[in-house]
């Protein structure tokens, strides 16, 4: 027991950092209750501890370090390193908010932000719309239902980097099958990935192809968890199909929808592999979203570690703000979390 108590105090301290906002319930009284809550909750804390420790070490520390780097002028040239036996000390210094000012006053950032937002909204909107549509179709009784379901799910089974390569080949302007089809139909070839506009449409199309199955499956699960009695009752009361959809299906799907839309938005916003592997951000940097741009800053040319870290911090802040706003909107409608 002695060892476990020791463990608990350790974990309790670890937890304290993440829990400021949440402790209200646990601490109204003094020392006595603390000990009591310790004996009551130690197993919960012990079970959570590994993840909290791992997260703190692998996300917390790099995060702190990343934020620090973003306030300096660290690049590959100024970063300390060891070459053989020679240790070259770091020469970068603290520059305050310079990196942020540079980024926020550059037109580049706003260009990238606008494109990232368009990319996210277009992709998530299409994922959700098509996913819901297909789920509604698949939720009917019909022949070959499971065959369709299987085929429609298949893109999800392909690892995203493989999907990226497949599509890059399909889009290839000389040997790609899309252009071959256009030619067969008597139309001219299109340099899909050579023009900013078509390249943007192309990457959105790929992401839609990759992402729809997940939404479809989640929606299908949601549809099947709506009790059939509701539809029966509505039918007895003479509700039209549209009314049934509007007043039973939509509210019934709300919880699933809110979760998958939030997850989908975060994933799409941070969708690295597709853009990185299909266009490499090009032509120029027209299809570069914030994440791939920050990556390029950090790992090509002279590695600009501080600039990249500042981009990262800004991206993270954007996402956190978005999640908070989203959560507040949900809460207004009476959601749980």
């Amino acid at each position: 027991m002695a060892t476990s108590t020791g463990r608990v105090t350790g974990t309790a301290r670890d937890r304290a950092a993440g829990a400021d906002g949440a402790r209200g319930r646990g601490r109204p009284k003094k020392a006595g209750p603390v000990r009591r809550s310790m004996s009551q909750h130690w197993y919960a804390w012990a079970m959570v501890a590994p993840v909290v420790v791992v997260t703190a070490a692998l996300i917390g520390w790099p995060l702190v370090r990343g934020v620090y780097l973003s306030l300096t002028d660290a690049t590959e040239a100024t970063m300390g390193r060891t070459i053989g036996v020679n240790v070259i000390p770091s020469t970068y210094g603290f520059t305050g908010l310079d990196n942020y000012v540079d980024i926020l006053t550059s037109g580049l950032f706003w260009d990238k932000l606008i494109w990232t937002v368009i990319w996210t909204v277009a992709c998530v909107g299409l994922h959700y719309g098509l996913g819901l549509g297909l789920a509604l179709l698949l939720n009917r009784k019909m022949r070959f239902r499971s065959v369709y379901r299987l085929m429609l799910i298949l893109p999800w089974a392909i690892p995203s980097f493989v999907a990226a390569f497949i599509w890059r080949y399909l889009y290839n302007s000389d040997y790609g099958v899309i252009n071959a089809m256009l030619k067969a139909a008597g139309l001219g070839a299109v340099g899909w990935l050579d023009d900013p506009t078509t390249a943007k449409l192309a990457v959105i199309a790929v992401n839609v192809w990759v992402g729809v199955p997940f939404m479809m499956v989640a929606m299908l699960g949601g549809l099947q968890s709506i009790p059939g009695e509701l539809y029966e009752a509505a039918e007895v009361d003479g509700a039209t199909p549209w009314q049934r959809f509007r007043h039973i299906t939509v509210p019934g799907l709300r919880i699933v929808s809110s979760t998958v839309v939030l997850l989908g938005t975060i994933w799409t916003f941070n969708m690295f592999p597709l853009i990185f592997l299909i266009t490499g951000g090009g032509p120029g940097s027209s299809t570069e979203i914030l994440v791939t741009y920050a990556y390029r800053e950090a790992f090509t040319g002279i590695r600009n570690y501080s600039g990249s870290a500042a981009w990262g911090v800004i991206i993270l802040l954007l996402l956190v703000v978005m999640a908070l706003v989203y959560r507040r909107a949900l809460r207004k409608q009476g959601e749980v979390w």
Partner: protein, 292 residues
Amino acid sequence: MSTATAGPARRRRARSREERGIGSSILLHGTLIVASLIALFPIVWLVLTSLKPRDGWLSSELKFFDNSSLDNYTRVLTETQFPNWLLNSVIIAGLTTVIGVFLASTTGYAISRFRFPGYRGVMWMLLITQMFPVAILIVPLYNLMAGLGLLNQIPGLVIAYMTVAVPFCAWMMKGYFDSIPREIDQAGMIDGLTPFGTFWRVILPLARPSIAVTAFYSFMTAWGEVAYASVFMTGEETRTLAAGLQQFVGQHWSDWGLLTASAVLIALPAAVVFLLVQRHLVAGLTAGATKS
């Protein structure tokens, strides 16, 4: 969970048997057929291209078959580093899965069953870490790995993948644990099990489908990750598949024959496993989604 939903679902399907006009039937099947074709075509084309002879991809004509041969496959397996990369990927993804699932299930159980001080903090942590863009962590992690001498090392990449896999898996496990009635825990407790005992001996066996799903998910995450793999694993020998495949279609030289063949080799096992677990995957994901 599955029995609970199957009942009403089946009843509803019986109900919606209302006659459908022939026109709307055609429309329904037509839409689904078109959607299925779009879903399938790139994959079919990939397989067809990989079966063409060595320079078969260098054709601007629309040909489905063209002297089919396994030439590309033999080249990939004998003339490139592909087998090496494959081995690396399997080891890395396997380790990520085992460690990730273990960590995720204890956490998932704790946040599903107990309301402890810090509960909401943990929930938020799990949600927010999923938002972390690669960009902010990659540089500090790179420096950290460099400092620890873990660059180009398998453990280094596994550690990096933990940051990606664990939060989401814990979130999913929580959703599944939520769907197991609490009475089962209480029964275990009454029989004299400790909370850990209940978790280990009663709940975990019940959660097997969800563990399968979570395991599969984290395997796929590690299997398909690009950014960390491209940066942390730079040696020819230590690349993973996602990093290695980029070699086949570089800026100055590309061989889509090699690429398509290896893509098929990578996607095939993944797709087979996927199709086997997909039923559970659906149940697990929606349990996570509806109960969160």
